[in-house]
């Protein structure tokens, strides 16, 4: 018999009990939709985070003190490192050929005060180059002045939120802001930007790096960001910088240099894992839906005993009975899968319109995967009922009224 006839027969049988077919179809639809939605959210998180890293600027090396034992995301320091100093930063700029910009960073939290308004703020000590490296835009004023690293002026650039909380509607430019015991003149305000790799830049105060080190009493930098002139030169630049710092640190390889690529890859890997975990959880509901299909098919088999007996009497072979019931189950689950797919695609589209900054997008493989998985669910959970149908004794099945 032709496949078309088989499908026609199965559709006829499914239409014989619409409510039941509809409900088990809905079960698969919900299962498939939840798998797609959760993986979309996971994938969206991955795209969001990697997108955020891209705002760091391209072609970046990130140097930090200490040697990581593994490429893991939280490094274990294996030996007391030499301090990572401003001189190191300058050396990189001058001796690593492809280094275009270098931004040393110290970071800490300090109590900020303007008049009698106070709050704790994150303070980044850095240089004028930070502006370009992190692609920061200013709302008003100017950024930290260029100049010799070691002699920082007492000036600062504040985030937009710091401005509104400490200055209200007043123009902060030229005003004095206290950080701890020190006075800083505000020379610029950054444009609102929101979260960027976990830091709310709007709540940050930027000060010259040497001021920052003094403020937090640090001898070592927190990071050195190095922008390389082209992507191809990153590996070579990384090697050069490592050698240079090893030389400067008396032969100890006591710094770690991450490329932006490797950070991105790590995050991407972690978040893909998260996506897979979410998908796995959602897959449970798909299994439940499969059991639902099996149940419906079993009911159908026992209800249609006479029909099956008749089919056998008119010479339908056992394997044809198996395929008829398998096709029925697969049709149910595939229709459910298609419905769930459509619902999930619609829902993710809606999510994207409601939260444009969060790219909840189904992974590219979702359409073929959803359809083949739902066919598979039907075949898998339809197998037992189909087998049962094919083994029905026609004499017994037809004897009953």
């Amino acid at each position: 018999m032709s496949f078309r006839d088989l499908v026609g027969f199965a559709i006829g049988a499914l239409r014989g009990h619409r409510l039941r077919s509809g409900l088990s179809l809905l079960g698969v639809a919900i299962g498939v939709a939840s798998v797609i939605l959760l993986t979309s959210v996971g994938e969206g998180a991955r795209l969001y985070v990697t997108g955020e890293f891209a705002t760091l600027g391209s072609n970046l090396l990130i140097v930090f003190p200490g040697k990581t034992e593994t490429t893991g995301i939280s490094p274990f320091l294996t030996e007391a490192p030499h301090a990572l100093t401003l001189e190191d930063a300058e050396a990189i700029l001058h001796h690593v050929r492809s280094a275009r910009r270098v931004a040393p960073i110290v970071f800490g939290v300090a109590a900020a005060r303007v008049g009698d308004r106070r709050r704790d703020v994150g303070v980044i000590g850095t240089t004028s180059e930070f502006l370009g490296v992190r692609q920061i835009r200013l709302r008003s004023g100017r950024y930290l002045p260029a100049g010799e690293l070691a002699r920082g002026q007492r000036v600062c650039v504040i985030g937009s939120k710091v401005q509104s909380e400490l200055f209200g509607s007043r123009n902060p430019l030229g005003e004095i802001l206290h950080l701890g015991e020190e006075r800083f003149r505000v020379i610029g305000v950054t444009a609102p930007r929101g979260l960027s790799i976990g830091q709310d830049l709007d709540e940050i105060v930027h000060v010259p790096v040497s001021r920052g080190m003094k403020l937090f009493n640090k001898i070592s930098l927190f990071r050195i960001l190095v922008e390389i002139s082209s992507h191809q030169e990153i590996p070579a630049a990384r090697r050069n910088a490592l050698e240079l710092l090893k030389e400067r640190h008396e032969g100890f390889e006591d710094v770690t240099i991450w490329t932006q690529d490797s950070v991105l890859a790590t995050f991407s890997r972690v978040l893909s894992l998260l996506t897979a975990a979410l998908g796995g959880i959602a897959a449970i509901s798909l299994t439940v839906a499969g059991v639902g299909i099996m149940n419906v098919m079993l009911v159908s088999v026992s209800e249609r005993r006479r029909e099956i007996g008749l089919l056998k009497a008119i010479g339908v072979m056992p394997r044809q009975v198996v395929s008829a019931f398998l096709v029925e189950a697969a049709l149910l689950s595939t229709a459910g899968g298609a419905l769930g797919l459509a619902a999930a695609l619609g829902a993710t589209r809606l999510m994207r319109t409601m939260y444009p900054s969060f790219p909840a997008r189904p992974p590219f493989w979702v359409v073929p995967a959803a359809l083949s998985v739902s066919i598979g669910v039907g075949l898998l959970f339809g197998a037992l009922p189909a087998r049962r149908a094919s083994r029905l004794d026609p004499v017994a099945a037809l004897a009953r009224r």
């Binding site: 027969f9 010479g315 339908v316």
Partner: protein
């Protein structure tokens, strides 16, 4: 040509073995009109199921057109049923969701007959049972007699050699029953072997070849030619 020799069928009921059929010898020539009669539990239906290759005998030989079929595997028996045997049941066994035409089409769908040819053959079979006008009706919209006529159309649509009818009039009123018997005899007149299981002596006695069963054994066999002269009569 059907040749049974030494056919027995045992059923296991709990600890006990029930002998539904015991040592049946029977020859049914092509084009025969045979009735199987006897009280309930006499083995009529068991015999019919074996004749129809729905069931396999416990012992004995069943030759259908010279081929031994008693021990064939399920797949082969299905093929024989599809090609050589038509069934008509007391309770019609129409598939309720299908129309009359759909029910008649069913055997051909699974036999892989092409769509165009199927439609043609459904039309012809329904015409032959006088139900062309009812082709689009579903079984619940048909009377008992009409349902049984659909069942006959379904049984003949594959062009079988043997038609097996199990109490075909058992659920019908007299006039509808008469119509069914007329249809069966018409098929027989065109050369189809017809075997009828019945309680009804009026119907059973119409057959040329009559067998009476009791306790799984043939207790009498009468065989008459069309003009009524006895050609063979034996009693056991």
């Amino acid at each position: 040509m059907i040749e049974l020799s030494g056919i027995s069928r045992d059923f296991q009921v709990g600890e006990e073995t029930v002998h539904a059929l015991a040592d049946i010898d029977l020859t049914v020539p092509d084009g025969d009109y045979l009735s199987l009669m006897g009280p309930s539990g006499s083995g009529k239906s068991s015999l019919l199921n074996i004749l129809g290759c729905l069931d396999r005998p416990t012992r004995g030989s069943y030759r259908l057109d010279g081929r031994e079929v008693a021990r064939l595997p399920e797949e082969e028996l299905s093929r024989i049923r599809r090609q050589h045997i038509g069934f008509v049941f007391q309770f019609y066994h129409l598939v309720p969701r299908l129309t009359a035409a759909g029910n008649v089409e069913l055997p051909m769908i699974f036999a892989g007959v092409e769509r165009g040819e199927r439609i043609e053959r459904v039309d012809r079979a329904l015409r032959e049972v006088g139900l062309s006008a009812r082709a689009r009706h579903r079984s619940e919209q048909l009377s008992g007699g009409e349902r049984q006529r659909v069942a006959i159309a379904r049984a003949i649509v594959m062009g079988p050699r043997v038609l097996l009818a199990d109490e075909p009039t058992g659920n019908l009123d007299i006039s509808a029953g008469r119509e069914i018997v007329r249809l069966l005899e018409e098929r027989n007149a065109r050369g189809l072997t017809v075997i009828v299981v019945t309680h009804d002596p009026d119907i059973g006695s119409r057959a040329r070849h009559r067998i009476r069963l009791a306790d799984g054994k043939i207790v009498s066999e009468e065989n008459a030619v069309a003009d009524g002269a006895a050609v063979g009569l034996r009693s056991r």
